[in-house]
C-alpha cells in the first residue's frame, strides 16, 4: 500500500464550479486512486516521497471522515517495510532512513493506533525508533538543533520532526529539550518570525516548525506573539490565499503553515477565514478530486492534505477536527499524548 505523491493526471481544464462546495467523495476516491498509478512515470520518480505521501493521504482521509478508505493492515505492512535496523524509516523499502520519513512513519502508526503492532513485530520498536540514530542520536550537542540523517543537514524542520515523533511516542525525555528551545530562540528575527537556522529569513514553514516545537515544549511564552501574529496575518492576500513570505504568491500549503501558526497563537481571527476557505475550495479539482497549490493547477496529495487540514482548522462543516501542532486528527493526538 503506497501512494504516488506527484501531480495528478486526468484533471480536466474545466472552469471553476459555480458554487463552491467541498467534493468529499471525489477526494476520497482521488486518494484511493494514488495506489493504482504504477503505469505512470511519476509514480516511480516520486518513490523518495512515498511514506510521507501515505501520511498526507491517510491524514486527508481521516479528516474527511473516511479512516478506513485505505486497508489498515496493508498500510501498516508498508510502513514497517520502511523501518531500518537503526530505528529510522526510509521513504520506501530500500531507501535510506531519514528524519522526514521517520516522522511520517510514526505519525501513520499513531493515527492507526498501531504502536502495539509495531511492538509485536519489532521487539522494543518504539524505544528503538526514539533512541537510535534517527531521532535522539541526531541532536547536535553543541547547538541543540537536529540533523536530518547521518550526512548532517541541519534545519529547524528536523528539530520539529524530532519533537513531533518523540512526543507521540512518549519519549521526549530522550532529548535535550531546553537546548533545542534555546536554538529556536536563536533563529528568531525582528519581525517575530523564525528561519531555518540563526540569521536566516523568516519563512512561514519554518515559523510553523518552531512554533509547534515550542508548543510541544510548553514554551510559547518565549514568542513575541503580537509581532509574529501581525507578520502571519499579513500573509493573507486579497484573493484570500496565504503566502509564505512578504511579496510572494499564495499557495494552499501555506493555508496550513500560516493558519495553524495563528491557531497556536489563538489569533485565527486576525485573518479573514471565510475568504481563506473560499480560496482553498477554488483549488479543488471538481472532476477528479484533490487540491492544487493555486486554482487551476495540477493536484497532488501534499496539497490535498494541507488544503483539507486548513479547512478543518477553519471548522469547515463535515470535516474531522485537526490538531494544529501535529497536522493529525485531534482525537489521535489526544489519545497518544494522554498516555
Amino acid at each position: 500500500m503506497s501512494l504516488v505523491s506527484g501531480p495528478g493526471r486526468g484533471g480536466v481544464a474545466a472552469g471553476l464550479p459555480q458554487e463552491l462546495s467541498l467534493y468529499m467523495d471525489k477526494h476520497v476516491s482521488y486518494i484511493q486512486s494514488l495506489d493504482r498509478r504504477k503505469d505512470e512515470r511519476e509514480y516511480w520518480l516520486t518513490e523518495h516521497l512515498r511514506l510521507s505521501g501515505l501520511y498526507w493521504g491517510l491524514t486527508a482521509l481521516h479528516l474527511l471522515g473516511h479512516p478506513d478508505a485505505l486497508p489498515r493492515s496493508q498500510v501498516i505492512e508498508f510502513v514497517l517495510s520502511c523501518l531500518h535496523e537503526n530505528g529510522g524509516f526510509g521513504a520506501a523499502p530500500g531507501h535510506d532512513s531519514h528524519m522526514l520519513y521517520t516522522v511520517s512513519g510514526v505519525q501513520i502508526l499513531a493515527t492507526l493506533d498501531a504502536f502495539d503492532e509495531l511492538e509485536a513485530r519489532v521487539q522494543g520498536g518504539r524505544l528503538k525508533i526514539g533512541q537510535l540514530v534517527d531521532i535522539a542520536g541526531l541532536q547536535d550537542a553543541e547547538t541543540g538543533t537536529f540533523a536530518g540523517d547521518e550526512w548532517g543537514e541541519r534545519d529547524t524542520r528536523f528539530l520539529y520532526g524530532a519533537f513531533n515523533a518523540l512526543s507521540l511516542l512518549g519519549l521526549l525525555h530522550l532529548i535535550n529539550v531546553d537546548k533545542a528551545v534555546g536554538h529556536i530562540q536563536s533563529c528568531a528575527n525582528f519581525d517575530g518570525g523564525y528561519g531555518t537556522s540563526p540569521g536566516a529569513e523568516s519563512h512561514s514553514g519554518q515559523v510553523f516548525t518552531c512554533l509547534a516545537a515550542l508548543t510541544i515544549a510548553g514554551r510559547l511564552d518565549l514568542v513575541d506573539q503580537d509581532k509574529l501574529g501581525a507578520w502571519l496575518s499579513e500573509r493573507q492576500l486579497k484573493n484570500g490565499g496565504l503566502n509564505g513570505r512578504p511579496e510572494k504568491k499564495e499557495d494552499v500549503c501555506y493555508s496550513w503553515w500560516v493558519f495553524s501558526s495563528l491557531a497556536m497563537l489563538n489569533k485565527q481571527h486576525w485573518i479573514d477565514g471565510d475568504k481563506l476557505a473560499n480560496f482553498i475550495l477554488q483549488c479543488q479539482d471538481p472532476q477528479m478530486g484533490g487540491f492544487s497549490d493555486r486554482p487551476g493547477d495540477m493536484v497532488d496529495v501534499f496539497h490535498t492534505c494541507f488544503g483539507l487540514a486548513g479547512l478543518s482548522l477553519l471548522k469547515f462543516p463535515g470535516l474531522i477536527e485537526v490538531d494544529a501542532v501535529y497536522c493529525m486528527p485531534r482525537a489521535v493526538t489526544k489519545r497518544c499524548l494522554s498516555k
Binding site: 480536466v12 520518480l45 523518495h48 529569513e201 513570505r245 512578504p246 485573518i271
Partner: protein, 364 residues
C-alpha cells in the same frame, strides 16, 4: 516535493496507447538503472564507474536522496584512496577532479531544480569534505567560487531562500578560513562586500525582502568590525533611515520596505538585543526625536496617499513606541490614534480582528 504552478490542463486527457507504451518503456529503463545502482552499492563497488551511474540517475531524478547518500559513500571511498587507479592523475589532482566534478554536476542540477534541498546539501558536503583534503589556497578558491554561483542563482530568482541561506553559510566558512590564516586578508572584509551586495540587490528591486533581511543581519556586524564609534553608528543609522524612507516614498504599498523600516525602528527600543543594535547609546530623548521625525515624514506621504494602510499602521506603531518612552509633548493626539485605527479598519477588512484587538488594547 509536490507540484507547484503546473497548469491542470498540462496533464489532462487520456494517453494514447502509443504514449502509454513509451511511458512503460521509460519506467522500465528507469527502474533498471535504479536496480543497477542499488545492487552495485550493496556490493560495495565504490568505483568511478558506479559514481558515473549515480550521476546518470541523479540527473534524471535529483530528489532521490538515497542516491545522493550512495554517491557520498562512493566519494568517501574514492577520496580516501591514496593510490587511485587513474594513472593520468596524481593523488591530489584526482581529489580535486572529483570535487570539481561534483560542483559541476550540482551546479547543472541546481539550474533545473533551484529549490531542491538535497542538491544544495550535497554541494555543502563535498566542499566541507574537500576542505580537509585540499591545501588552504585551493579550498579557499573553491569557497570563493561559491559566492559567484550563489550570485548567479540569485540573479535567476532573487528570493530563493536556499540560495540566501547558502550564501550566509559560504560567507561564514570563508570568514572561518580567514581567521585560521595567519596573514590578514587583503581588501575589504566579506561583511563589507556582502553589505554592498545587499545595496545592489535592493537598488535593483526594492521589494526584495530577502536582501533587506540580510542587510538587517549584516549592519550590526559591520559596525562591530569597523569598530565604529558613536558618530559613525549614528551616521549609518541615519543613512539607512533615509534610504528606506525614500523607498517608502517610491512605493508605499510594498511591505518589504515597511518591514525594513520596522527593523530600524525596533533597534531604537531599549529591549533591542545587543547583536541587533545599530546605535548603542540611545537616550529616551533620542528615541523621542527619531519617532517624531519619522511620524512627520510619514504624515507628509499621507497627504498624497490616503489609501495606504501601511502608513496608518506605521504611525500607530510609532505612536505606541513614543508613549513607552514618553518624553516631551506628544506630537499626536489620542484622536489622531483613533483616526489611524479607523483608517486601518476601513482599508484592511481582511485583518479586522487584529485591528479590533489593537483598539481594545489601546483603549481607543
Amino acid at each position: 516535493m509536490a507540484s507547484h504552478g503546473i497548469a491542470r490542463s498540462a496533464g489532462s486527457g487520456v494517453r494514447s496507447e502509443a504514449a502509454r507504451r513509451i511511458e512503460l518503456q521509460q519506467i522500465e529503463t528507469y527502474k533498471d538503472l535504479v536496480g543497477l545502482v542499488n545492487t552495485k552499492v550493496a556490493e560495495r563497488q565504490y568505483t568511478v564507474e558506479v559514481l558515473a551511474l549515480t550521476t546518470k540517475l541523479l540527473t534524471e531524478n535529483p530528489e532521490y536522496y538515497t542516491i545522493w547518500n550512495h554517491r557520498r559513500r562512493i566519494l568517501q571511498k574514492l577520496l580516501s584512496d591514496t593510490a587511485p587507479d587513474e594513472p593520468k592523475f596524481t593523488s591530489d589532482q584526482f581529489i580535486e577532479q572529483l570535487i570539481t566534478d561534483d560542483l559541476q554536476l550540482t551546479y547543472k542540477l541546481l539550474r533545473g531544480f533551484p529549490k531542491c534541498y538535497w542538491i544544495w546539501n550535497h554541494r555543502n558536503w563535498i566542499l566541507r569534505n574537500g576542505e580537509a583534503l585540499l591545501d588552504a589556497p585551493t579550498s579557499r578558491k573553491l569557497w570563493l567560487g561559491e559566492l559567484q554561483l550563489v550570485s548567479k542563482m540569485l540573479q535567476a530568482d532573487n528570493r530563493n531562500f536556499h540560495a540566501w541561506g547558502y550564501r550566509r553559510f559560504v560567507v561564514a566558512e570563508l570568514q572561518r578560513l580567514t581567521q585560521a590564516d595567519e596573514v590578514p586578508p587583503e581588501g575589504p572584509s566579506l561583511t563589507e562586500s556582502e553589505f554592498e551586495y545587499t545595496t545592489k540587490m535592493v537598488n535593483t528591486n526594492l521589494s526584495n525582502f530577502s536582501a533587506w533581511h540580510n542587510r538587517s543581519k549584516l549592519i550590526p556586524r559591520l559596525l562591530d568590525e569597523r569598530k565604529a564609534d558613536d558618530t559613525a553608528r549614528r551616521k549609518l543609522f541615519d543613512d539607512e533611515l533615509s534610504l528606506v524612507c525614500s523607498a517608502i516614498n517610491t512605493d508605499p504599498f510594498d511591505q518589504s520596505i515597511w518591514y525594513y523600516h520596522q527593523f530600524l525602528m525596533s533597534t531604537l527600543s531599549p529591549d533591542c538585543p545587543r547583536q541587533s543594535q545599530i546605535v548603542l547609546s540611545h537616550s529616551n530623548q533620542d528615541r523621542g526625536s527619531y519617532y517624531e521625525h519619522e511620524m512627520e515624514y510619514i504624515r507628509d506621504i499621507l497627504e498624497d496617499e490616503t489609501d495606504c494602510k501601511w502608513i496608518y499602521e506605521a504611525l500607530l506603531t510609532i505612536a505606541c513606541s513614543y508613549l513607552e518612552v514618553s518624553v516631551g509633548t506628544n506630537p499626536f493626539t489620542t484622536s489622531d490614534m483613533h483616526d489611524w485605527l479607523e483608517a486601518l479598519q476601513r482599508l484592511d477588512p481582511l485583518r479586522k480582528g487584529r485591528w479590533d484587538d489593537w483598539r481594545r488594547s489601546l483603549n481607543l
